[in-house]
């Protein structure tokens, strides 16, 4: 009797406890939904053709955000250009060529720590090396290189996972047919791992272009009369623009802030979604 009563007590406790756990989960999820919906609702009113296609006027109080959109687009391309090949080759080295020795351990450790370096520190790095030492100035090139350094760790990690997921037997089959190691990697392993690599790269790039601190340190421009015409030109970018309009310009109409936030969110999240779709489609194909 006593035992079963204790059992009941434990059951009741469990129900309450599980309720609390669910509540915690709700506390995590609700603000996410709130932020997205809030920006969608408030921002959609300020999106107009003019807002998307015109340059800002009167210290950003009027006009649109077109140069910032273009700048972010260029940054994305630049980041991809620098980070993707290096990241993938690095992952290939780690999965296909590296032996289990101290050097490999050191590389892995570096990747883990690179992923944890604060974004503003990447900004200082970019400022010191690319902007000043390399004399590329506060340019698209310097910002892309900085963001590429930041995206590198994530691209390596996800590419490595994708490469490791390719079954060993594929490699053995290829080698047994007389292919060299590099031929095996290029023609057998890489194609199999491609979807995973693409997913990871797109995610890493979308993170990178959402970053504000690095491009703030490298020196993004708030107002530019014209679009950048070469990689060495100054640039505007959406996250930095949002930071400026939200905090630095007095009397900024709220709709400009909302609109900028919405465009930035849509750009970043559409890349996230794209990555998910690639992953999902590939899984479908495999099954």
């Amino acid at each position: 009797m006593i035992r079963s009563e204790r059992g009941h007590g434990a059951k009741a406790t469990e129900r309450i406890a599980f309720g609390l756990l669910a509540l915690a989960t709700f506390l995590v999820v609700a603000p996410v939904i709130y932020i997205v919906v809030f920006i969608l609702v408030n921002g959609s009113g300020s999106i107009s053709w003019e807002f998307l296609t015109q340059a800002p006027r009167h210290r950003g109080l009027e006009g649109g955000i077109f140069p910032a959109i273009v700048g972010t687009f260029y940054l994305m391309i630049g980041t991809l250009l620098f980070a993707l090949p290096v990241g993938v080759f690095s992952a290939i080295y780690l999965t296909e060529y590296a032996r289990r020795n101290w050097l490999t351990r050191l590389i892995n450790l570096s990747i883990v720590n690179l992923a944890g370096v604060p974004s503003i520190v990447f900004g200082l790095f970019g400022l010191g090396l690319f902007v000043l030492a390399m004399r590329s100035g506060s340019s698209l090139l310097a910002a892309s290189l900085t963001l590429a350094c930041q995206a590198l760790a994530m691209i390596i990690t996800t590419s490595r996972e994708a490469l490791m997921a390719v079954p060993r037997s594929y490699r053995e089959g290829s080698l047994a047919l007389g292919a060299t190691k590099w031929q095996t990697v290029l023609h057998v392993v890489l194609p199999q791992a491609m979807p995973g690599i693409i997913t990871g790269t797109v995610l890493a790039t979308s993170r990178a272009i959402g970053e504000t601190a690095p491009i703030l340190a490298v020196g993004a421009a708030f107002l530019l009369p014209s679009l950048p015409s070469s990689p060495l030109d100054q640039f505007m970018a959406l996250p930095y623009h949002l930071y400026i309009v939200a905090t630095q310009v007095p009397g900024m109409p709220e709709r400009t802030m909302w609109g900028t936030a919405l465009v930035l969110l849509v750009v970043v999240l559409s890349f996230n979604t794209m990555a998910m779709v690639v992953r999902w489609r590939f899984r479908q194909r495999r099954v």
Partner: protein, 410 residues
């Protein structure tokens, strides 16, 4: 372009094993029959390879090495043209003979075309070297970051002694004479991070436990992408919403003069470090072997008792790692704290005051600092301190995670 002589020499150079190829330039240099023009190509090539600034700078990944490769090929062609073919042929042959006994290559290559095999070998070696170069790039970048921070930041200690820099409570970078004490920022970073973790730890672990053990599949499948989504939302967007929504809320609820306080920042950072805490803790919980759970159920424990007394203790190192990673994110986060923490320069006494953490200080002043000036150096020194702190937290997290993995694998 090249004569048949030259072509056959190139072929035999390709056939040499890698180590002998490195030796070839030495032999060319030391042979008196080689004309001086051809000899000069080699040091020229070396100089080009060593200099960091050339056609395409070496520290630009991939492209930076591409021009070097091109120059090597060009130099090889040049040498072949400038040298008398007989001399070069002789040198190559000599090297080839000492490298491999004549019986070896044909037998070992089995049924394959030996010439084909040789051609592959050079490509393979170059590719391997190239891939290796990319592989170690993570180390290069990490060391490069720290090196640069030290190079630009250390000179500040000639102006302000180390301890006074660390524990000075006055930061007047532009007054004359300037004063650099980062204690206010250290304390602010510490307070906000501790505050954030106190909020995020229970919520994060509870969410992880719910997702790993309790939630029905449908909920789990819909919550996980949402948490991933949170990790993808740019921090400036979260800071913006916090500025508009959370700031007035904090001011009204706690009856403060301003909502731009450390507390506001701590709440935002708790929220932002949740994705990593939840996902790493959940991984740790699901890594606990099923036998543990089954044994607990067999003893009559409920699911809740099992979670509290078996699963969480078993996964504690993974959860510790999750918290360390969360701490790293919270300390390093820049934009939200820049926007909502208030930016006061004095040493804060409680979370309810406006304050300015280390990251926000760098971000706020980096564009005003003159290159090489004292303020510039001081900001890089703060950056170096940040780097060391996050490096330590990440290192601890990594070690603890490895331990947990090893524990359940054996």
């Amino acid at each position: 372009m090249l004569g048949t002589d030259a072509k056959s020499i190139l072929k035999s150079i390709k056939a040499l094993p890698f180590r002998k190829k490195v030796l070839l330039p030495v032999r060319i240099l030391s042979d008196s029959r080689v004309p001086i023009g051809a000899k000069l190509v080699i040091p020229g090539l070396l100089l080009y390879l060593i200099m960091p600034l050339d056609l395409i700078p070496d520290f630009i990944p991939v492209l930076g090495q591409l021009d070097d490769l091109l120059v090597i090929i060009l130099a090889l062609g040049l040498i072949v043209r400038l040298c008398p073919p007989q001399v070069l042929h002789e040198l190559v042959l000599k090297l080839g003979q000492t490298s491999s006994p004549p019986a070896q290559p044909k037998n070992q290559s089995g049924g394959r075309n030996p010439r084909l095999l040789k051609r592959f070998r050079l490509g393979e070696k170059i590719m391997e070297l190239f891939i290796f170069g990319n592989g170690v790039l993570a180390i290069v970048v990490l060391v490069g970051i720290f090196g640069l921070l030290l190079k630009e930041g250390l000179p500040i200690f000639a102006h302000t002694p180390f301890w006074r820099f660390l524990f000075g409570d006055k930061w007047y970078p532009v007054s004359s004479p300037p004063t650099f004490g980062i204690l206010p920022f250290l304390v602010a970073s510490l307070m906000i991070t501790v505050g954030a973790i106190i909020i995020a730890l229970p919520v994060g672990v509870a969410t992880a436990a719910y997702l790993a053990e309790v939630a029905p599949k449908a909920i789990r499948e819909s919550v996980k992408p949402l948490i991933e989504l949170l990790a993808g939302v740019p921090s400036v967007v979260i800071g913006f919403v916090g500025l508009l929504v959370l700031t007035p809320l904090v001011r009204n609820v706690f009856h403060l003069n301003t909502g731009l306080t450390g507390l506001t920042a701590a709440i935002m950072l708790a929220f932002m470090s949740l994705p990593v805490i939840v996902s790493v803790s959940e991984d740790a919980l699901s890594m606990v072997p099923n036998e543990y759970k089954e044994a607990s159920y067999a003893l009559g424990a409920t699911r809740w008792q099992t979670i509290v007394h078996v699963l969480i203790p078993a996964a504690i190192s993974g959860i510790t790692a999750a918290v360390m990673l969360g701490v790293g994110r919270a300390i390093g986060e820049t934009m939200t704290v820049l926007m909502v923490a208030g930016g006061a320069l004095s040493v804060p006494h409680s979370l309810a005051e406006p304050m300015r953490p280390m990251t926000a200080t760098i971000a706020a002043e980096v564009n005003n600092a003159v290159r090489g000036g004292l303020q510039y150096q001081a900001l890089f020194a703060i950056g170096a301190a940040l780097f060391l702190i996050t490096f330590a937290t990440n290192l601890i997290a990594d070690v603890v995670l490895e331990r947990q993995k090893r524990r359940f694998q054996t």
